[in-house]
Amino acid sequence: MGHAWCERKCIDCISRFAAAANGRMLSGMGMTIAEKILARASGVAKIAPGDLAVVKVDLSVMIDLSFSRSSWREVLKVHDPDKVAVVFDHEVPAATRESAAMHARGREFVRRFGIRRFHDVGPDQGISHVVVAENAYALPGTVMACSDSHTCSAGALNCVARGLGAPDLLYAITTGKTWFLVGETVRYDLTGRLAPGVSTKDLFLHIAQEYGDHANQNIEFGGPALAHLSIDARRTLTTMGAELSAEFATFEPDEVLIDYIKTRNPAPFEPQYPDADAAYARRETIALDRLEPLVALPDKVVRNAVPVGEVAGEPIQQAFIGSCANGTIEDIAEAARVLAGRKVSPGVRLIVTPGSQRIFAAAVRAGYVQTLLDAGAVVTPATCGACFGGHMGVLGPGETCITASTRNFKGRMGDITARIYMASPATVAASAAAGHIAHPGRV
């Protein structure tokens, strides 16, 4: 199955023998997007699976949890404050005294080192991955790091971006560098168009069901369907790359992306395309028109999805739409479309959390928030909040929730006896109206 390790079994040989063991010739072989970005960032001509790439980090993002009592260590030196952004997102506004103290530590760090890109509680508040995209802090062709697992989100912007641990991130902000063990790349070519009521969340669930985890592999997305996929839709997919255990999930650049970046950040950038002779571990074509709404059953994401019809009728007490994956303006618009003129079923709590305050404001202007309020939804400020069981929508014992967020792990959103189904915003909104899991086309 192509796991690559050093055939000579010597410690230092992290090696290119791996690729040879997979029956590939390296000389003359081109590079995937991730390999090209890593090669540039590490100042070498060629990067291949099995390499240990030591790279310059173009952007390091610290979140409020970076300053939590259990993770924080006093930083004495920041390599380059202009390559650091600080975005409070997990518990904003502060949910507890502990999180208030965590925010205070973060503000002190920002002041001490003169961090200019700082998103505190207020109008610029948002989930870090959403804030990074809407401000185009991460530029195509660059390397981004952040101590949250869904950092791969920025792969939609043609970045090599991944979540690091807290100590990893301290290394990155103090030295300007990090390392990656380079894996093989799986390429998905997307064709056709999604049917109404079907989203890239369903595409993600299809990939998770059909192909399973991608541990130690990169994912690359391309194909003619990109012309019909907004950056928001792409970001849902790359964000969920974390749930496939992918190292990186990166989109090919196109006009849609380049326009998106240029309207948000005047800095120059150089997008990276894969070489025509790039070597992939696998290459698959997915026809988007054939996809249908799916639901992941509780407790795990990979190889755990079924068509909505198979679980339709399952009673729910909570429905949640939000997170870095599903808190976009398009997600909120979709929820409003499904719920327009309808009511959330008695006994169900529908909680909608926009990905940023900027999205919240746009949703107010577009009338989506009014539609959701009229339906009986609770719309919260932007935060990671309920997605990680932090605040504003924590589940109690024995409850069942259907969520359009990132994870359905046991205990993820609160009590360990709660059951969490995961689906698209349309399916979650339809379920909230029905009082049980329901197909978005058949409320």
């Binding site: 230092d12 240990l52 949890l65 993770s71 260590r73 100590p167 985890d213």
Partner: protein, 179 residues
């Protein structure tokens, strides 16, 4: 270094299967709790009481995709429990990074899940990169870890390096990750 590293004590095996996620090792509500409190909650949702059965040097054998999920310091809790190592068919890259940086030996060993029953004894050699089942004699190749990463993994992680380079302050309040 390599000579010393090759001597990993044999350990009693605990099995956990495929797709073991970080929320099971470190539940969200405890993210801001001190490490000594976090360690009590390891696998509380899927295997209540297990932390009381673990002995120093025990080894976890996982299946595919071990450590999928969050960036939270789950590997630190496994280290603080006194576990000697993790062997798994495949390991999530982010969990692996945390294992490197918190100084917990996490090794990829395709086929390991099938080669062990719970309670077997695992012998790990980093000299020839193998894992051996003492009961059955089955021996599997471990994917070698680059020397620089192995040094961190077996030498207390990245914090001492950052302290020595005067990039972060010494941890006075608590020995990081104290039990």
């Amino acid at each position: 270094m390599a000579a010393a590293l090759s001597a990993i004590a044999p350990g009693r095996v605990w099995k956990f299967g495929d797709d073991i996620n970080t929320d099971l090792m470190l539940p969200g509500p405890l993210l801001q709790a001190p490490p000594s409190e976090q360690v009590r909650a390891v696998f509380a949702a899927n295997r209540p009481g297990w932390v009381d059965l673990v002995r120093q040097g025990d080894i976890i054998v996982g299946g595919r995709n071990f450590g999928t999920g969050s960036s939270r310091p789950a590997a630190r809790s496994l280290r603080n429990l006194g576990l000697g190592a993790l062997l798994a068919d495949s390991i999530n890259g982010l969990f692996f990074r945390n294992a490197v940086n918190f100084g917990f030996l996490a090794l990829t060993c395709p086929g390991i899940d099938r080669a062990f029953e719970e309670g077997d004894t695992a012998e790990i050699s980093l000299a020839d990169w193998t894992a051996r089942n003492r009961e059955t004699g089955a021996t599997l190749p471990i994917r070698p870890v680059p020397a620089t990463l192995l040094t961190l993994m077996t030498g207390g992680g990245i914090y001492p390096v950052l302290e020595a380079d005067r990039l972060i302050a010494p941890d006075i309040a608590q020995a990081e990750g104290a039990r």
